[in-house]
Amino acid sequence: MGQTAAGAPGLIPEGMDLPPARKGERALARRRRTAAYGMLAPGGVYLFLGFVVPLIIIVYTSLTSGGLFTSGGQLTFTWEWSNYQKALSEYGPFYVRSIQYAAIATVLCIGLAYPMAYWIAFYGGRWKSTLFMMILVPFFVSFVIRTVQWNFILGTNGLLLGPLKSAGLVPEDFHVLRTPMAVIAGITYNYMPFAALPLYVALERIDRRLVEAAKDLYASKATAFRKVVLPLSVPGIFAAVILTFVPATGDYVNASVLGGTGTTMIGQIIQDFFLVKHQYSIAAALSVILMAGMLVIALIYARALGTEDSTLAAGAAT
């Protein structure tokens, strides 16, 4: 992952190394330096307006109070820490559940996507791109529509259970829809491409000669995979986990479309507070907690699996 940044000719350092005589080159370096800022600016502004500003507003809102009837819905900033207290004491279990669902779905995503990405990367040959495109094809259909379709697949007498029931393989009153199973299945399905993408990139980049070398040194296929391929794909796994786990935790579409009573996730609670109850202060507090929690988990995870190590591992592959 890190090899482009380290290996590519840097924009600024290159200019600095030039002999002073070459003034034209120095002007060019200056231009390049401004160009760097110029290129960063649109993204920076975008990020500032689209992330930093809303973040500040959310944190601000989470410390306000007011109600629809008492103040016409106007919120006043009152350092209302009780919003956080309420959010945590009443909705703590939903964070736990969301993390559980997301964790299970993440493991499933990687378990399903890894062999697929591996096969495509190593044996896809000239069909590589086509095969990989096929993983991404579901993205051409709206997220919500895809999820709604699962209602038909998982229905009590739907595509999956209908035949099983007529064959007498499952009991007549067995159902999957509106259960945790359905929600986790939905999340897994919807987020698997996010896992497949980085895994494929990491696996595709592995130098085949290293695997050959391992075999030359009498490593079995399994050992070569375990000692060479798997460690080199760690950056991909790292990215896949982050890309799957973080959005899956906050997901509310799967739980509301496929879930029922007893599968409520924190995303639904937040959505409810924003859009149904119009209690923006609590909604904002819930969001801040979710965000902070995710950040902490991601940091711990990064420490454990280490981005730096991953980068080194990736670097070793080149």
């Binding site: 229905g155 159902h175 923006y280």
Partner: protein, 427 residues
């Protein structure tokens, strides 16, 4: 009348009706709208942050509003629920007639998919004391209507300028308890929440709300609950008047709901979209809206039945309201009254199958059915079924069995209500 949908070549009324019941389309719309959640809530927050120093919106309504038809402007923005008005060839015949009569063009937007999020959309402008860009909105009775009236966000109507309403409105549409004298609201359509079921899937025909919990009536894991309507409906069936209910009664209803949730028959709680699960046979029965069930029964021939459970059903009213600082209040009031002419109300009812606030429509539809007998027997039969359905034309006996729901009018009440009922489903 030449506005019947089936006058269009290649246009099946059954298909059109399939797209017509307003409540069924709400679920997908809501889900699709989920993508815009962030944007919507953000704008509300921005407004909330910015709004503290502006006038707090207590300026709407009052006598300053000019309702003289002579001063109506020539266009009007009307926001309603999807497929909640007559429609033919992409136009709205009743609104065209209104234009012929008054010269006012109605810009009809079917943008309301559920009360909560639509209200959330209006909220920033309401709080800032600004025009919402809409002259008429349609909102179900409940805390949003209460908030609009209390906060001065609804324009007070000139009650002397609605002769058709005075002459033709049904008893239940006149002076509802949440708006005595209809000073702010006039009913658009109305309906009942009761029990709907698939006659082929139930074990035994249910007659009361308690039957929802019993496997004697419903197969296990096959009963749905409408989360927002359930508390009121349950209270009615516990012999409590929801309109005056307090915490102790709410607790009673919550206990009943928790019992249903934990019973063998329970399948899931719904905001809307239970009809999809009914059609997919995931549900054998559910708390249901009358219009949904009637549509499938009358127009799609499904084996569905809707009952008013033993101790009563919940009545709800979708209200036309003129938001504060609307640009054309005079035109808006004219239009609201226009729809209280029986012939105009008939055009709407033949399309939407909810309760019309104009009782005379029943006879008009029956007569229309007779007229069609020669040309289109199937359509004639459907019209006759519509005209004879007791649920669409509540008599005194039925009205005695239904009640409007609790009107939450303070923050404390709203909070206590949600604290009582939300945890049942938030599990």
């Amino acid at each position: 009348m030449t506005t019947d949908p089936q006058n269009q070549p290649g246009f099946s009324p059954a298909f059109a009706r399939g797209m017509t019941s307003r409540r069924m389309s709400r679920r997908n719309m809501l889900k699709l709208g989920g993508a815009s959640v962030g944007a919507l809530s953000m704008s509300s927050i921005l407004a909330a942050c910015a709004g503290t120093d502006s006038t707090s919106g207590q300026t709407g309504g009052g006598t300053a509003v000019d309702f003289d038809p002579a001063n109506a402007t020539d266009s009007l923005n009307f926001s309603n629920w999807p497929l909640y008005i007559d429609k033919a060839k992409g136009e709205y015949p009743s609104l065209n007639l209104f234009k012929e009569e008054t010269g006012i063009t109605v810009n009809y937007e079917d943008e309301i998919n559920d009360n909560a999020s639509f209200f959330g959309e209006l909220l920033p402008q309401l709080q800032a004391g600004q025009d919402t860009g809409r002259d008429i909105v349609v909102i179900t009775n409940g805390e949003y209507v209460a908030a609009m009236i209390q906060n001065g966000w609804a324009t007070e109507l000139d009650t002397s300028r609605r002769p058709n309403f005075d002459a033709n409105a049904a008893s239940w549409a006149k002076s509802p308890f949440y708006d005595p004298g209809n000073k702010y609201t006039m009913a658009w359509q109305s309906g009942l929440t009761g029990v709907g079921f698939n006659t082929e899937l139930v074990n035994k025909t249910p007659t009361k709300l308690d039957d929802l919990m019993s496997t004697e009536y419903f197969p296990s894991a096959s009963v749905g609950v409408l989360k927002s309507d359930a508390p009121d409906l349950v209270m009615i069936n516990l012999g409590i008047d929801p309109k005056t209910s307090q915490q102790a009664e709410w607790d009673e209803a919550a206990a009943w709901l928790a019992q249903l949730r934990d019973s063998d028959t329970f399948y899931a709680g719904y905001d809307q979209g239970y009809v999809d699960d009914l059609n997919a046979k995931n549900l054998s029965g559910s708390m249901a809206w009358s219009g949904d069930v009637l549509y499938y029964k009358i127009w799609a021939g499904k084996p569905y039945e809707f009952i008013v459970p033993g101790d009563g059903a919940l009545l709800w009213i979708d209200n036309m309201i003129i938001p504060q600082h609307a640009k054309n209040p005079a035109g808006a009031l004219q239009m609201m009254d226009f729809f209280y002419q029986p012939e105009i109300a008939q055009m709407v009812t033949e399309w939407v199958l909810y309760m019309s606030p104009v009782p005379e429509v029943q006879d008009l539809i029956a007569a229309h059915g007779k007229d069609e007998e020669g040309s289109d027997p199937e359509y004639a039969q459907q019209l006759a079924d519509t005209a004879s359905n007791a649920l669409l034309w509540p008599d005194e006996a039925l009205l005695g069995q239904v009640s409007l729901g609790r009107n939450l009018t303070t923050d404390a009440e709203s909070e206590a209500w949600h604290a009582t009922f939300d945890p049942i489903w938030e599990q």
